[in-house]
Amino acid sequence: MESKKKHKVFVEGPISPPFIADAIAKHNSKTNIGAHSLFLGQVRNDRVGEQEVVAIEYTSYQEMADDKFYEIREDAFKKFPLICMHIYHSLGLVKSGEISLFVFTSSVHRKEAIAACEWIVERIKNEVPVWGKEILSNETSQWKLNT
């Protein structure tokens, strides 16, 4: 079963659009899939006073994060009738406009894929030990707060 695989979640730097396209293409052979749901988190150029966010630098407690990603994955397969799921999260520098989180769920029908995708994103935001440092246009920085 796909759920037993402990795949690598963290990627260094941004997640590129061709990588995402390729991830979709790889599912051509799984013809029992009827629906994919994708979430893409993009670094936003928030205004901070006179400055704006030009990039986010991500760091993680990687050992704990890997355990957490695995737990979320196992739970997602128990909770939703998924055919497969993939999570990719950036580490290091990701510029505004680039993708830092990619969650990809697939199922027979749309509702399960959509619900699972949202549920996984919320769990990642709340439970995975990753921190974003916002780099501002004047080269100062501040720690990101998730809303």
Binding site: S60, Y61, S100, V128, P129, N146
Partner: protein
Amino acid sequence: MHILANYLTEFKNSNMEISVLVFGQITDITGKGSLKFTDIKSTGELYQLLLKTYPQLESIKYLMAVNKKIIHENTMLMDEDTIALLPPFSGG
């Protein structure tokens, strides 16, 4: 014999070492990502020592994890435990 036993206990205690991993905004306060402490017996004791060493921690909300598991109450520590200081997560 008694004295020797005491000595051995002391010796053993003084060898107890824990690692503290520091993340996010807390690294701005400690200036480094990992710290070592000896003879700390509980997370409560560690919390107090950290506060004394880095008074700015007072204003930071954070959780502790012992060997990758988040704890919510005072927890006894063992030799070679790894404690992580986790400010609010901001991934994604």
